[in-house]
Symmetry: C2
Subunit: 308 residues, 2 copies
């Protein structure tokens, strides 16, 4: 069996590398919960950590054509921010099904934005073609050890902020984010994956014993709608993710609403999914269990968080 | 001359008293700035600190009729939250000119809400009449030492979070909030008041040498639009507020927009005014000056923070 692709030393190195470029995001405590406000990260999601770690690590070999990626929006914004900060051109391919604010978010960091009719896979195909033509370095949203190690810096930072915790509840798309957290905590913390009922690539991989394709839809599809868990994340997820639950779209919308009403936070659907798991009862902590819920993204139209 | 009505010991006592009831709000660092995210406080603004400190201090004498106040909205929401937590009935008088979200925010904490045609003064007159009829304890939004001491707990908490700072930039309405901060820091920190051009009761008091009436309008009037600085705050402001600047409504809107785009925070106009002072150049820090900007309120429709 392939060993875990990322270990805590890689995350220490990533933290050192990206420290000057990323925001130390705050926590808020509420009753027995700790919320990690990673939605306040530069470019509005955790993706900025992984993108910086990968690009800084390969900085010497990035060609003049710069960086290229397909993205539902959050990785694209993160990479556009990275390119702006490091002075590298960036091209992003986004599916037409992603929301307008994600396009704006990419464009405001100066990246060239290509709108591709269809879903993520269509954008990926277009990005692949373009990459062959330009020779730009393609930065995958989640399936690379440097990306996973970068995401894991959030867990390392969190542990400095909170001290010991029992459980971390975290949303899963392609698996890069949860893999980073699990690579840091390993068996020291109970790691709970949350997926929408309508896109469950992590649960499907657990059932199949290997990454398999799933269908994808629902309110969080633009951030969590990966068709298949990444092979790199899977080497970590398989070993260190302890539990995998699902939430309904209505649970996600209710959690977005609670985050606004109770905490004055604007979380996108994918960013609210972890809280939805607690509120819906999909994950039920024991009495006194110290649980961290990660609120991991904010790239949505703020008008949408108020229940109609 | 009347001595300052609140001193650091009062704030220590307030922090002890309200500790179990208020949220420790996080900070975010950005270049040379520290943002204090007091907009993430329970009920969406700093007002919750002062309201708890006053009500807890007088708890033994609150009659069955409970608590009553006039409010542009933030104090009313805070007091409604206090009443809900402590099991006391609350009546709030709000002017018809305050935004809808402030009404919702008061109602969701279970307070009885009276909508009064006109401006804050009209709501205050109605609250006064009603107080005579019911005998409820009236909790003024800012003009009371216990309220000012409660607001000052934010400065005390902040100092634990940041260590030494040079300057604090803070928005001023009736003066209770800035007085609390100034009562804690006294001469140890440079305190800068920010008012909208369209409601400058602190600057007017400095010019007159005493509290005087001013006219009130503009985008932040529902939170910063006090006609006259409170007599209690004035005893502190007079001595420890070092500088008083103003910002235009457009500067406030631009700061709201920056807080959303750059930090993913939804700040109401009054909550964005302090940042507006830096961005407009109304306050210009020296090189290396360590400045805290307080983002103090979030009770607005989130759709309004995106520039049209």
């Amino acid at each position: 069996m392939t060993p875990p692709a990322v270990d805590p030393d890689d995350i220490d190195a990533a933290a050192e590398r990206i420290g000057p470029y990323v925001r130390r995001t705050p926590i808020v405590e509420h009753d027995d919960l700790v919320l990690k406000l990673e939605l306040l990260q530069h470019a509005g999601s955790f993706k900025t950590r992984g993108a910086f770690n990968r690009v800084l690590g390969e900085r010497a070999t990035i060609p003049d054509a710069g960086l290229i990626a397909a993205s539902g929006g959050n990785h694209g914004a993160a990479l556009a921010f990275v390119g702006q900060q490091l002075g590298m051109p960036v091209e992003i391919f986004i599916p037409s099904t992603s929301p307008e604010i994600k396009r704006r978010n990419i464009a405001r960091f100066g990246a060239a934005l290509h709108d591709i009719e269809g879903y993520y896979d269509d954008a990926q195909a277009a990005a692949d073609d373009r990459q062959v033509a330009t020779g730009a370095t393609q930065i995958h949203p989640y399936d690379h050890p440097a990306t996973v190690a970068g995401q894991g810096t959030m867990a390392r930072e969190l542990e400095q902020q909170t001290g010991p915790i029992d459980t971390m509840v975290v949303a899963t798309g392609g698996g890069g984010f949860i893999a980073g957290q699990a690579a840091w905590f390993r068996d020291r913390v109970h790691i709970v994956s949350v997926e929408p009922e309508t896109s469950q690539c992590l649960r499907a991989a657990r059932l199949a014993g290997e990454p398999v394709d799933v269908s994808v839809s629902g309110v969080a599809a633009d951030s969590l709608g990966a068709r298949r868990i990444g092979g790199v994340p899977w080497t970590i997820v398989r070993e260190f993710v302890d539990e995998a639950v699902v939430v309904a779209d209505d649970d996600i919308r209710a959690a977005q609403y609670e985050l606004w009403e109770e905490f004055r936070l604007v979380a996108e659907p994918g960013g609210a999914a972890a809280l939805a798991a607690l509120r819906s009862g999909a994950y039920r902590p024991a009495a006194g269990e110290r649980v961290v819920v990660v609120v991991c993204g904010s790239n949505c139209d703020p008008a949408t968080v108020i229940r109609p």
